[in-house]
């Protein structure tokens, strides 16, 4: 708000601006549009490859538009049992994981947002501590092992129920809600739980949507956890499947495994696999976009 009076004259000046300034603006726009395009280009290239014939892809003919348009690659990937299995694992983990994580994170954030909680500082400190320090890879592995979670589906989401960072965002959002709301509800005889469920949560939809998105993206894109803890092929999520698809086509891998050369998957199939693996999470964005900016902003600007 403070900035707006200063910004206005600058704007009106811009209308009367010199040719030089206009040129500057134009060049700026061109440069930034080009910069933007460079980030879209690999994606378009991938789409084009996934719809092209393998022969065209191999000889480097495909750039932005498919050559010899076909959809056989998609049919092949979508009917491959390993892909479908990995897809189902990822969907299950993302849905269950984001829901549970949101639930747990909210339950942790709410009490911590109340100054009347005894030992609040201590608890917050405990949470922050885990953000900075962790046991390291091997102790964590041993812990997971003794919990009996190795090679079980829940290992992909149970250890990540609370991200302290996300919890703090929710917490500061809760703190920004007017205290009067809670007081009046209390006068009407509402319990803590009722206040949370009936009043606080409905008011916090933007931040909850944002955090859900954070969690969903995190679960969807995570491959490292499965790399460490999953041994069975039937429990491998999509990202691990993709990673394996690519690494097993690299020169280094093939040099050591000459026979694997006979089963390398074609580049067009690889492109189609990426597309099918990226699309679902990409489709979630537009629906949550409107909350997205609002949620993060409101949570962060407070104070």
């Amino acid at each position: 708000m403070k900035n707006s009076p200063a910004a206005k004259p600058a704007k009106s000046q811009a209308i009367r601006s010199s040719v030089g300034e206009k040129l500057f603006q134009a060049i700026n726009i061109v440069i930034f549009v080009l910069l933007g395009l460079t980030t879209v280009f690999p994606f378009l290239n991938l789409i084009a490859k996934s719809f092209s014939s393998e022969a065209a892809v191999v000889s480097g003919m495909v750039t932005l538009f498919p050559i010899d348009f076909q959809v056989g690659t998609y049919k092949y990937v979508a009917s491959s049992s390993m892909f479908l299995n990995a897809f189902m694992v990822s969907v299950t983990v993302t849905v269950i994981g984001s829901f549970l994580a949101l639930f747990m994170t909210t339950l942790a954030a709410y009490p911590l947002s109340k100054p009347r909680l005894r030992g609040r500082k201590f608890f917050i400190l405990m949470y922050l501590f885990t953000m900075l320090f962790s046991g390291g890879l091997i102790p964590t592995y041993l812990l997971i092992h003794s919990l009996g979670l190795i090679d079980k589906l829940p290992v992909l989401f149970l250890p990540f129920m609370i991200s302290v960072y996300n919890m703090l965002i929710i917490k500061s959002y809760f703190e920004s809600l007017p205290e009067g709301l809670e007081e009046s509800a209390k006068i009407d005889g509402a319990s803590n739980m009722t206040i949370l469920v009936r009043i606080v949560l409905p008011l916090s939809l933007p931040v909850l949507a944002t955090i859900t998105l954070f969690y969903a993206v995190q679960f969807w894109n995570d491959y490292f956890t499965s790399l460490l803890y999953i041994n069975s092929s039937s429990l491998k999520p999509l990202q691990l499947y993709l990673k394996e698809l690519f690494v097993s086509s690299t020169d280094t891998f093939l040099r050591d495994n000459v026979e694997a050369n006979l089963n390398v998957s074609p580049q067009s199939i690889q492109a189609a696999s990426i597309m099918l693996a990226t699309l679902p999470i990409l489709l979630v964005y537009p629906f949550l976009q409107k909350y997205f900016v609002k949620g993060v902003l409101i949570g962060s600007v407070k104070g």
């Binding site: 393998e54 790399l227 092929s233 039937s234 097993s248």
Partner: protein, 506 residues
């Protein structure tokens, strides 16, 4: 609430699916099969134990494979499989071993095998094999068994693969050769002249290639049959000497430097991945490339798509300076099958691994049923498509030792699934007949020093050689490089290799 119940449901469904795989199937097929199978020995009334196996990475779900089911049914043992990951498999293996995961047997790479054996994680199997391994002893040669011996003891079954195979050869645009009236080169000098003419007349790079500075078709003409940068040993006066110490290596690098500076070879050699090389060749930017037979179908279709009149010719393996043709072949032990110290039922495990090499079981586990997956023509095994590919594409991942006489013949069914693939494979083998050279270390046991320094030296050699070829560093520095190579482990490796070599001659 709804979401939560879905969550609970799917978790329980998952666990149900898991337990069903683990227990249900075993009791049904596991107990019935042994009494029916003729290979089973006495004591069949006792149910056979279930095994858990660890295998190398492959892009398939091992427990769903036809081969896995077939093996379970034929042997009567129920085996479930886990795989190592495709990246950093050694780290994962270390984790699993530190945890004493209950594996019955594990298919290990040479380095993994020697490390685990040295740390005492593997059970010596000499006696068990003597007692229960009739098939094992029959079909696996003494040469291979020697390659599994560490400090006088055998810790795993050596698994060789397809026999001696020559993977790549130089292919050239035959249509351009005809157009320019050029003859196929047979020596290095002729190759140089062909390259020069093509470059002048067609204005393209003559040879595309990438990453590895050791061109597998040119290097042997200097008398240096070297495969990977850190290996490549040769006997000189009864001692093994690495190719980097051979004075001819410098001459090779000089030659490559000349090709590079005259722009006859790919100017992006040091950056290219293999798909870039294929792209250059198939799009007509290059006249030659070194092609692995396994890439032949891709290369052919892509080239013909771009230039329907294009024809691919194969350059015969070139004569060396002494007039002899040398071709680098690959052979040797691909994997070792080890049993962890803490495994239960070790006798049964060996019995199982031995049973897998039973003539009929081994054959069916490799190439399937005759009439369903393959047919026999003139003693060759021809795959029946697409059934063969569907069921047996990944069968080699299940091998735990092979019949060294028959497997190389069975194996060719894999290559015959595509006529272009097979003709490229066969032409390589035919052209290399009588000239294929094997590294003396092919059947050596995994030597600790080699495992320790291989990667590091590989990188040193590749990086430095690429610099010499592209001119980023003058070749006069070769002595300095050699000194570093020796200091960085080359000397230790040479010592270890020669100690082993001397021990084989006794």
């Amino acid at each position: 609430m709804l979401k939560k119940s879905i969550a609970v449901l799917s978790i329980s469904a998952m666990t149900a699916a898991l337990t069903a795989c683990g227990g249900g199937g075993g009791s049904a097929s596991g107990t019935n099969a042994p009494s029916a199978s003729p290979g089973a020995t006495a004591g069949a009334s006792k149910p056979k134990p279930e095994f858990k196996a660890l295998m190398q990475y492959g892009r398939f779900d091992p427990n769903e494979q036809v081969v896995a089911k077939l093996l379970n049914e034929k042997t009567g043992y129920k085996v479930t499989y886990d795989m190592l990951p495709v990246e950093n498999p050694d780290d994962k293996l270390n984790l699993l071993m530190a945890n004493k995961e209950k594996y019955s047997f594990m298919i290990l790479s040479a380095t993994q095998y020697s490390k685990l054996a040295a740390s005492g994680a593997l059970e010596p199997i000499d006696e068990l094999v003597n007692k229960y391994g009739t098939n094992l002893k029959n079909v696996i040669s003494q040469n291979s068994w020697n390659g599994a011996k560490l400090n006088g003891k055998i810790f795993g079954i050596p698994q060789t693969g397809s026999g001696t195979v020559v993977n790549s050869s130089l292919v050239i645009r035959q249509d351009w050769m005809d157009e320019l009236g050029l003859k196929m080169p047979t020596t290095r000098d002729e190759l140089y002249n062909v390259m020069k003419t093509i470059k002048e007349k067609k204005n393209v790079m003559a040879l595309s290639g990438g990453k590895s500075p050791l061109a597998p078709e040119i290097l042997p003409t200097f008398g240096l049959p070297m495969t990977t940068a850190a290996l490549g040993w040769e006997e000189v006066n009864g001692k093994l000497v690495n190719a980097v110490e051979n004075p001819n290596m410098k001459k090779y690098l000089e030659f490559m430097r000349k090709l590079y500076s005259e722009k006859l070879i790919d100017q992006e050699w040091s950056l290219n991945q293999s798909n870039k090389v294929i792209e250059n060749f198939t799009s007509g930017k290059a006249a030659m490339m070194s092609m692995g037979y396994f890439n032949a179908p891709t290369v052919k279709t892509a080239l013909e798509k771009n230039t329907p009149t294009a024809k691919i010719g194969t350059v015969p393996y070139l004569k060396g300076d002494d007039g002899k043709v040398r071709v680098v072949g690959t052979a040797g032990i691909s994997f070792y099958v080890g049993i962890p110290k803490w495994a239960e039922n070790k006798e049964e495990i060996i019995k199982y691994l031995d049973l897998k090499l039973d003539k009929d079981i081994h054959k069916e586990a490799t190439i399937g049923k005759e009439g369903v997956h393959h047919k026999v023509e003139n003693g060759n095994y021809i795959p029946i498509l697409p059934k063969f590919t569907e069921d047996y594409n990944d069968a080699s991942g299940f091998l735990t030792g092979v019949d060294e006489k028959n497997y190389p013949i069975y194996w060719q069914a894999r290559v015959r699934k595509d006529p272009v693939l097979f003709s490229a494979f066969e032409s390589n083998q035919a052209n290399a007949k009588g000239s294929a050279v094997l590294d003396p270390l092919s059947f050596a046991p995994p030597l600790e020093a080699v495992g320790k320094y291989n990667q590091k030296l590989n990188k040193l050699v590749e990086d430095t050689f690429l610099k010499y070829i592209t001119g980023a560093e003058p070749l006069e520095n070769y002595d300095k490089f050699l000194a570093q190579w020796k200091a960085d482990g080359g000397d230790e490796m040479t010592k270890a290799v020669n100690e082993w070599y001397a021990s084989t001659k006794k």
